[in-house]
């Protein structure tokens, strides 16, 4: 990641597909582990850790969406709803049956995967913009159902309070404790995605994305792989929803509306479609952006707007900046921040002797 290579010397496919492209990569990973496990939690304040926590949750959800959109070439406008399915499944299990998080978390993910497959079934016959519309309908139907069925949503305000997760009898309540909890799942999601994409299934996904009819001709059952992609992707989304629920201590359908689906699409487009590193960049960027925007507007905005207007202005500006960034990246740098990073790296690969 941060090391410099002097060229490409791989002679076997196994070497090309290895998780560590060079022996030195292990040291980079060890350094990152040291940074995230020891240095950051000791040196950062609670508030800054809470931002990192939000990033970890976002990384899990964005990786899932990138598996579907970036690697398999399908599109989903329903990921917010898949998250809500995971969140409400876990919340109901935790509150009614008193199950611990290591049971509710996979349960939430599996339920979201089942719903995701259901929404993905139309992808048998349709694709591209028709699929976008079908998943949009899925989002609206799930949103409506959760909001209108008290058995799921837990009554009038459609939100369920959940206890913080507990591990070996200790309840994880401070930001630092939650930090390690969420870091674990973020790392798990990253490693799982990297490995998935090196596997037979991952390569089938890429074949479906690049040319689905050709993929079918060489023997890939495209419908099956599309459904697997939907299942895996919405499993991630469900887990992401469960993590949100445990992190905030409440499952609320307003956290998972259509706008969330668009936020996550923004992450993977800004970060880079079909790239794990890009997804991480995107999740970090999209999480930090509204916080920076809020700081700027709170300091500068009072010159132009009254206090009562300012809240509206901040949320409106945030949305507009997201939209603008999506358009900007699509036009200027379709491969996202990941491409910018690679450009910087390849510039430094031979630096200072450019030729």
């Amino acid at each position: 990641m941060f090391h410099r290579e002097s060229g490409v010397f791989k002679t076997t496919y196994a070497a090309d597909m290895a998780l560590y492209p060079l022996p030195i990569a292990k040291r980079t990973v060890a350094f990152l582990a040291l940074l995230f496990v020891v240095i950051l939690p000791l040196s950062l304040q609670e508030y800054h850790l809470s931002i990192l926590n939000l990033m970890f949750i976002a990384i899990v959800g964005a990786l899932g969406l990138n598996i579907l959109v970036g690697y398999t070439g399908q599109i989903s406008l329903g990921h917010g709803a898949f998250m809500s399915v995971g969140a409400y499944t876990a919340a109901n299990l935790a509150v009614r049956l008193g199950l611990p998080f290591w049971l509710t978390l996979p349960a939430g993910g599996l339920m979201a995967a089942a719903v995701g497959v259901l929404v993905g079934i139309p992808s048998l016959r349709i694709k591209g913009l028709y699929l976008a519309i079908a998943t949009l309908a899925g989002q609206l139907i799930i949103e409506w159902t959760i909001n209108h069925v008290p058995a799921i949503s837990g009554g009038a305000s459609a939100s369920i309070q959940v206890e913080r997760p507990s591990l070996f009898g200790y309840s994880l309540t401070t930001q630092t404790q939650l930090y390690f909890f969420l870091l674990f799942f973020a790392v798990l999601a990253i490693v799982a995605t990297l490995n998935l994409m090196r596997s037979r299934i991952g390569r089938a996904f890429v074949a479906v994305r690049d040319q689905d009819i050709a993929a079918e001709i060489i023997g890939i059952d495209i419908f099956r792989y599309k459904l697997i992609a939907f299942a895996i992707s919405s499993f991630y989304a469900g887990v992401c929803g469960v993590l949100y629920t445990y992190y905030f201590g409440i499952a609320n359908y307003e956290q998972f509306q259509l706008i969330v689906s668009i936020d996550y699409l923004a992450m993977i487009i800004i970060g880079g479609l079909g790239s794990v590193l890009g997804t991480i960049f995107g999740a970090v960027f999209v999480t930090i952006l509204p916080i920076l925007l809020r700081i700027v507007l709170e300091n500068v905005g009072s010159l132009f707007f009254s206090d009562s207007e300012l809240a509206n202005v901040i949320s409106g500006t945030r949305l507009a900046v997201f939209g603008g960034l999506i358009i900007l990246f699509l036009i200027v740098e379709p491969e996202g921040l990941n491409r910018l990073w690679r450009n910087i790296r390849s510039y430094f690969r031979v630096w200072p002797f450019s030729y």
Partner: protein, 299 residues
């Protein structure tokens, strides 16, 4: 069925029809863009909202005549459609459909975010000087603005049907929709027709925004009508003008019927739900809609 029940049914049907015509009008803007450019406009609802807000803002100026406000709104929306095509979509030509979808979603987010900043968050009234005395038709009644909406929609559909069948530009646009390369080889300036299609979407949105706005009042929620467009166009077929009309009427009437007959039993809100269920069913059974053109794919 007693006479009262029949009267209730008739009122629901009439109301559904009038709402359906309005859906058709907004779906028309959507279909025009798809037909000519193969792009799908997820910002259609935001176009309508923006037109309504602009019209309300212009009418709010003291002593502004109605006709001037309408013309100004039309001009702004046409310019906006042109501008969007030129600045955002043209660089995306030849890229996967997902890119174009995302660009219009991005535009929707920009419009939805900026309008409360520019126009303020409160709901504005947009009143057309046509009175609000309801017109009785049998046991049911329609407000004048609903009647205006129906008339405008019928005029627009007639106009665009004529345009595509008879006028030189309309035929050229159909050629572009059919096969861009061949159209270009025949000397048609494809890019100009793309821009024209977006400008026409701007016109339709402007009219839709003014009529919807004077029915419901204008604020950010007007954009939600854009979500209703999807069931309409899926049902009718994405590239069919007649399909937009029929789809709009079906969705409008179904909505009105479930709101009248099912809502009392389940506690309301079904009309925001049933159209999408209907749409999923259509997508599974007949994905190209009633009149849509079936696409054959090759490697």
């Amino acid at each position: 069925m007693s006479g009262e029940d029949l009267g209730f049914l008739f009122a629901l049907l009439l109301n559904g029809t009038s709402i359906g015509f309005m859906y058709s009008l907004i779906a028309l803007g959507f279909v025009l863009v798809y037909k000519a450019t193969d792009a799908i406009n997820f910002a259609q609802g935001e176009f309508v909202m923006m037109a309504g807000l602009i019209a309300a803002a212009i009418l709010g100026i003291e002593g502004m005549p109605l006709i001037a406000a309408i013309i100004a709104t039309l001009a702004i929306m046409i310019a906006f459609g042109f501008g969007f095509e030129r600045i955002v979509l043209r660089p995306l030509l030849g890229r996967p459909v997902v890119a174009v979808i995302m660009a219009t979603i991005g535009l929707a987010a920009v419009l939805r975010g900026l309008t409360p900043v520019i126009f303020g968050g409160e709901t504005r009234a947009l009143s057309l000087p046509i009175g609000d005395e309801p017109i009785n038709i049998g046991p049911a009644s329609l407000s004048p603005i609903q009647l205006v909406g129906i008339v405008v929609t019928v005029l627009f559909f007639a106009g665009f049907s004529w345009f595509f069948k008879k006028s030189r530009k309309g035929v050229a646009m159909r050629a572009v929709a059919d096969n861009q390369q061949v159209a270009q080889a025949m000397g048609i300036n494809v890019e100009r027709y793309f821009a024209l299609a977006w400008a026409m979407a701007g016109i339709v949105s402007a009219v839709g925004g003014i009529v919807w706005g004077s029915m419901l009042g204008v604020d950010v929620h007007l954009a939600l009508v854009g979500l209703k467009v999807f069931p309409v166009v899926i049902l009718g077929g994405l590239d069919s003008i007649g399909g937009a009309l029929l789809g709009g009427l079906i969705i409008g009437i179904v909505e009105s019927l479930v709101a009248g007959y099912v809502d009392p039993y389940v506690g309301g809100g079904t009309k925001d739900f049933v159209p999408y269920v209907l749409m999923i069913v259509v997508l599974m059974i007949k994905p190209y809609g009633i009149f849509g053109k079936r696409r054959i794919e090759r490697v």
